[in-house]
């Protein structure tokens, strides 16, 4: 009756979903026995999944106390954006040096559904935006780079599928990056990729500052 593949994998996916959807609330303790029963598995593969989530900053383990859903604060979100600026900048540079037309095509394809559209579906665009940034990393073929980009998870969780800036604004920036990659101008590609993240980071900081002061 038992089907062997790797139980911890689907458990990991499900838990991640639960955290992003707020089924597991920030700060909430993950009582292993309860979640294991809920998912119909034992604690062993669950713990494996939780350890992976911990490595991705989505949960935090306090020894002998328990594992808790993390609540990324303002500073951490900013910090993640600094990392993204560095890594996506490098990714753009590496792509520009490859002179590969298939790369350009794949990057452009992220946004073709939205070109020449009067009304852009925000949710769809936000998903496309996320894909674009992940693709930028993946297309470099740099495995360690791709593996350490996992912390974009935090970004997903915090921003959800909302957008930091309006599509009109970011669309233009995306194509500036793509065009620099296409012409093989690695310095410019890196510059644009970094400026893009930097701008979003600054907007985010403002939003959070506003939100925090309103709550006072």
């Amino acid at each position: 009756m038992i089907q062997y593949t790797d139980l911890s994998q689907p458990i990991y996916e499900r838990l991640k979903e639960m955290i992003v959807n707020d089924e597991l609330k920030p700060g909430e303790k993950i009582v292993q026995e309860k979640i294991a029963e809920l998912l119909g598995v034992s604690r062993t593969p669950l713990m494996k999944a939780l350890l992976t989530l911990e490595n991705e900053f989505l949960v935090e383990s306090i020894p002998r106390r328990g594992i808790f859903v993390r609540t990324p604060d303002l500073k951490e979100i900013i910090d993640v954006y600094f990392c993204r600026e560095a890594l996506e900048g490098m990714a753009a540079r590496l792509l520009a040096e490859q002179h590969d037309t298939s790369i350009i095509k794949q990057l452009k394809d992220c946004f073709t559904p939205f070109i020449a559209k009067k009304k852009i579906n925000t949710k769809a665009y936000a998903k496309a935006d996320e894909n674009f940034h992940k693709l930028l990393i993946k297309l470099t073929g740099n495995t360690p780079l791709d593996k350490i980009y996992f912390f974009s998870n935090i970004h997903d969780k915090v921003i959800g599928y909302g957008l930091v800036r309006p599509p009109e604004e970011t669309m233009e920036e995306h194509f500036k990056i793509i065009n620099a990659i296409a012409t093989g101008d690695s310095d410019t590609a890196e510059q644009y990729a970094r400026a893009h993240i930097r701008k979003s980071r600054e907007i985010l900081i403002d939003q959070y500052k506003k939100r925090t002061s309103e709550e006072l």
Copy 2:
């Protein structure tokens, strides 16, 4: 009789040591029961430690087949150096923006034992070099940055405590970075930090190419 802290932690440290020391050889399969017995623990905390090592690229799990000590190849080492260039460059920039004299002092202190020395102990300097680069990251206070810098482990494993370049050469570069941070010149600090990693990467590539061709 059982002392509770977190067994997987010392197991992780010991396994990492065994991998770096070649007690566990590249490509070798880690038979859980055997290692568990060797370390006098059960498979449960051992598996936890192995999962952490997997996240750090030191071992590789092939489901249903086993967990194997990884053998980083030339491409991966180069790829890691691209990541380091991006991240350490950003770190230097962030430190320069902080205008904190204690940061300068701590960075300088890494190399004070070697200043004005005629003969530099290579092993000691290699250790200092490693500390300097880790400190550069840590002093930013950027937690996600620090957490994703773990892949420097691969570096340690591959290079061991040898040096890519002679101390005279890198010492000068280190102080260029430190001085740029001290004067608060973030652009220059980033430039120097990146150039430093880039040069080592290029030397490494040459060394490996030479070694590989000799073996043919």
